[in-house]
Subunit: 279 residues, 6 copies
Amino acid sequence: MSVPKLTLTKVVAVALEEDVGRGDVTTEACVDAALTSSARVAARERLVFCGTEIAAEVFAQLDVRVRVEPHVADGAWLEKGAAALTLHGPARSLLHGERVMLNFAQRLSGIATMTRAFVDALPAGTRTRITDTRKTTPGLRALERYAVRCGGGHNHREDLAAAVLIKDNHVAASGGVTPASRRARARAAHTSKVLCEVDSMAQLAEALEAGADIVMLDNFADDQLPAAVKLVAGRALIEVSGRVSLERIPMIARAGIDVISVGALTHSARAVDLGLDWQ
Amino acid sequence: MSVPKLTLTKVVAVALEEDVGRGDVTTEACVDAALTSSARVAARERLVFCGTEIAAEVFAQLDVRVRVEPHVADGAWLEKGAAALTLHGPARSLLHGERVMLNFAQRLSGIATMTRAFVDALPAGTRTRITDTRKTTPGLRALERYAVRCGGGHNHREDLAAAVLIKDNHVAASGGVTPASRRARARAAHTSKVLCEVDSMAQLAEALEAGADIVMLDNFADDQLPAAVKLVAGRALIEVSGRVSLERIPMIARAGIDVISVGALTHSARAVDLGLDWQ
Amino acid sequence: MSVPKLTLTKVVAVALEEDVGRGDVTTEACVDAALTSSARVAARERLVFCGTEIAAEVFAQLDVRVRVEPHVADGAWLEKGAAALTLHGPARSLLHGERVMLNFAQRLSGIATMTRAFVDALPAGTRTRITDTRKTTPGLRALERYAVRCGGGHNHREDLAAAVLIKDNHVAASGGVTPASRRARARAAHTSKVLCEVDSMAQLAEALEAGADIVMLDNFADDQLPAAVKLVAGRALIEVSGRVSLERIPMIARAGIDVISVGALTHSARAVDLGLDWQ
Amino acid sequence: MSVPKLTLTKVVAVALEEDVGRGDVTTEACVDAALTSSARVAARERLVFCGTEIAAEVFAQLDVRVRVEPHVADGAWLEKGAAALTLHGPARSLLHGERVMLNFAQRLSGIATMTRAFVDALPAGTRTRITDTRKTTPGLRALERYAVRCGGGHNHREDLAAAVLIKDNHVAASGGVTPASRRARARAAHTSKVLCEVDSMAQLAEALEAGADIVMLDNFADDQLPAAVKLVAGRALIEVSGRVSLERIPMIARAGIDVISVGALTHSARAVDLGLDWQ
Amino acid sequence: MSVPKLTLTKVVAVALEEDVGRGDVTTEACVDAALTSSARVAARERLVFCGTEIAAEVFAQLDVRVRVEPHVADGAWLEKGAAALTLHGPARSLLHGERVMLNFAQRLSGIATMTRAFVDALPAGTRTRITDTRKTTPGLRALERYAVRCGGGHNHREDLAAAVLIKDNHVAASGGVTPASRRARARAAHTSKVLCEVDSMAQLAEALEAGADIVMLDNFADDQLPAAVKLVAGRALIEVSGRVSLERIPMIARAGIDVISVGALTHSARAVDLGLDWQ
Amino acid sequence: MSVPKLTLTKVVAVALEEDVGRGDVTTEACVDAALTSSARVAARERLVFCGTEIAAEVFAQLDVRVRVEPHVADGAWLEKGAAALTLHGPARSLLHGERVMLNFAQRLSGIATMTRAFVDALPAGTRTRITDTRKTTPGLRALERYAVRCGGGHNHREDLAAAVLIKDNHVAASGGVTPASRRARARAAHTSKVLCEVDSMAQLAEALEAGADIVMLDNFADDQLPAAVKLVAGRALIEVSGRVSLERIPMIARAGIDVISVGALTHSARAVDLGLDWQ
């Protein structure tokens, strides 16, 4: 469930370069090189934590002498005041990395916490999935997808090559859902699924006819969902997308939808409040 | 007021690699290479736009044949329904770059719009500045600082090398505000200002005595501000920081504070709603 | 059907760095900077050409003044002696790039030519696909996949994230095909297909029961195929893999197999003979 | 005799990025993180092995806990069924790196095995060298040169800066072998040798007159070689190039040629058959 | 006082790539892999040493088995014949890294030694600083700034973003020192100082009036300095720049100037003589 | 005679990143974006100019609208006050690139000017070469080698792979000049020359016997040179190295030495004085 190691290495290197690449003049002046210290990363509000692996990578790159001691696994609830992890090592290095580490952890924990709220809104017993979208922060997609998983969500396709997704523009350019589907199947690997976004019952019927593996109901009204589910009749997975609010989750799940994709998980989660308590 | 060109190039390259680095199988299958098209980037809510330069860079890297025609400058208000820019070029390339371009523009316009709200909350006639902090998205600092400027805000120090900022840990490690200041001045370039974070009137007095160029009042209560301003008496710039809400801005500005730094501008602005209208 | 632009740029840059990164002392000494020339990339044997896009990128990076004039599209048959493209420009730049361009074109045309032989071995009217595998040259996967497409083949999954492929080790570690499938479905995106490699009829039955989207018959004997196809009965795509020779292609296709994956296309195609004829 | 460390690091990083950069969804789902395993890299045919250093680098980058235990040195013959090395470590990491490691080892061992066949074709007692050319796989030159050395061969010049090599185009552009030589000597470092490709006895005489350090006989007929050797009379090294088959090696060596360069070693060696046996 | 770790890593990697990226054919041929050795980096003239951190990084990247034993700290005087550090490890690795390590150390020690001469020329009791400028070697700025600090000097602004420095062109383009100052203050962060270069007493008066934090007297004659100091009267720091020779240092310092910036420290220091003594 | 394009691109990118990567706050504040300007790069002392190609690359990367108009070719003498080139374009971009461009040009012109002095010290009619060494600035080797050529000098081997150079340590580790030579020949490409450093007539004799292509007389006294030349008798090129001063050049050349290598050309040339005159 972890972040791919090679990506993590690159993203953290960029972040450190950005903040401490040219040095930390205050710390080097005021803090003796020999001073060691400990500090706790603590929740200042209730939240789902996501940041242990990232913290470990931040300090591994800055100073191998820093030891990162986790108290919870990524994905766990943290009560207000509780500590996610404790850092031990040269005080200079802890200060060099503090902001970068918190910038990652606050943002990713914010995503995990918001995702958890959506997942917890699913009625007991449904098999509906909450997923992210491609509306992620440029450069941080792999990390944000990981945060969504930490919150109990699932991921959507990773990029434009990961599956076929036929949207209105593709339909228009190909002359209809059926020719678009046929062209896509002919070009895509046999290992790729074909998704088709539809905005009406007629389009839905055509997509099913064309053999879509997944149909995406775009901005369907609540009362259209049962008819859509009935029409599909198990021939494809059904996904609902388009500005889905937390309040609508139980209704959509109960209608028998397989997947609800929520762009806000990654584009609009606020950072949660984490701080560093020195000891 | 632009983003440094070299940074822009690198950040956009990473984002494109992430989303279209391995190709866009749907578009290549369904859309003919010879098809050209136009599309408008339009506001789906009222917002301050920030994204013209980024859009230009996204498409310059993807396909030099795409022409980006701006209708407003970055930093302008856009009414709901209005277009920020129009793209002209091969339909395939517009589709390849659509998501990456919108991911940037929605996020940065979100920051610009939130910043504008804080700036507009300043009473007429005050010279108080609203600034960002170092609580930016890892990898996107230069772009987010630009978005803050587009919203009428100002920037704080760019990184740990850009100025001296003495915090409680530095004070503790140096044996007090005065020795911390002296050590920092001795080490820092003469071109660097010295900022000192204080959490009490006593510390404020000591920081002024030590010759701080800027004093940062951390989590001071509203009714402490007048006394603090009086004590400083023009000897240093005064900055207020620490979870400042929009409601408190007029009061703080009227108290005579020079700078209000707001972390939420970059760590918790929600993405605003922008879409691509095909023509 | 092209190579992703960003990948092409990086791969060509590495190749040029390797061969001409430190200069071309002979050409700089012996050839005047002002001399211009033309040269034809010509086939010295019958082959399927793949190299026009790559040649264009090689010379775009070396010297924008070089003009690459294609005579055939990638994927076309070229008779012995025929020219694929003509280069026009400064003689120095043509000489600087000659070897790198030919190294790419000979290798990729070799893959395209071999793929074409496998595709042409399919009986008329079958819908069986010839595909590559992940046994590609390190660093050149995207280009080699493109070459396979130029030869009329299709691609398999791109990398370890592009689809679920359950092999014997995964089965052993999970306690069977069924639990492996369940764990994979739970973790993978709903947009991912699940492939299951099987080496017996019993395993095949279990994979179908577990809902595999694609079953891969690994080293099945020729006379086992009809029974396998009958057992599957359209519930999954059927792929045959494992050292498939050209001779066996018609038989396998006639048995009703959907996909034949051939590692040799990318790991053992010999370079075809292309040369540069100066004019 | 090893691969330069810095190059090895970069090439392996690219290969891992390509195959596992976005994760390995099957293994993460099906294999427990705590499971450890051992696996042998075994020859499925008789071959000269080349891959120990590469395997070590692959797993060092993926997971430092994997231990690579070599059973033979690079360059040794491996009988069918024998193991080249054993891997010990977390099963997940072994699965993540399996394909990349084999892709390198099969290709490089293929080159080493083919080179060994050419070297073993040299008559006992001759001092003739078998060398590679610059017809290497883009991006893998340093590794393929290493594989050639593992097979008992030698390397030719590394790139366009490594020595002067005057070909027909340089001769044409300079007005003859003599002026080309003079221009090259004047420009090249005194530490560079000058090679001159010749296609006739007349050109050979001129090259010797011009002081070439090495003369390259391009596509000379077998019966021309003795006269050429006699003409040179020890004044230069003599190299034979141009589609040299294995069968011609003994004859060429006996004629007294110093160097035979064989492009096929790197552009057309087939991958040999290596597999991973889990234990 | 150290070089930022991330920069050091990158600069050393480039230098090693440049010199040993393609291998060291002589050492690999002549020196057995098992041979270990020790060697002292020794001063062949009296100098201020700067190179311990760099040597450690060079060998850490080349071969972790090499141990770097420092005898003095960076910034210490080294008498002729004395050793700065001793290297222990595989003889091959010591030979691979010898030249790169010395190229760094000779150059940086040259800068440190020259800086020390300027600093030692300051009269006892003055608080004047000797600083570098932005006239550094492209790519090595962070290291050269460190060398200046090792020599007892201070640094000037790091780059074009680190502070505002108004020069004659900015004045001309803005319509005067006062408007240039106002525009700069409005745009720059409140954490940035404003420097103003002046070439006459009139400009100096205007700069002070405009509130410059630092005034830079460009090519002022010696006898103008007292009047300038008197005019400033503590309202700004005073810097003298422009081809300042060692001989003028005491006079300038005694005039009460705060900062003397010396471009020659980084653009024209000669390399000092360091060698490697094998043991 | 130019710098390899790919290297030039990378080196200039690093230099720009270092100085203007984060922006140029002063210029953006004070200079209108629409203002265009012209400026001459002028010599403030007599010098051999080297910087036209570099200036072109600096401004190509910063702003393609800047036009670089050269008045002399690299390598030409420039009298005090004369202009090497004129820049035309947006004033902002000229200011952004001014310092980086001058930092390159002053340093490289310094090398070219010093090299020219050594070359001009050669007596008329001798064929002795002045060359550089590997004692170059880390990261700038290709540019400094170019500057040496612009000054009329020649280059030595480029890096540790470019030729075999047997030094005392290699001799010691191999058991003598003869075995060192034999091992090196066996391992190195047949296209590599073998250089042997000798410090006595006895070693010189042994090196010749072993077939060295070039013998390097290390710190030989002036009166030893004629005997050395006599002993060599045309069997090898003779190089003199080791702290050679300008005064000794005529004598060494007259003794019949082929090559004089001078480390100071690249490690200790002072920057010459170039400035930008705005028009």
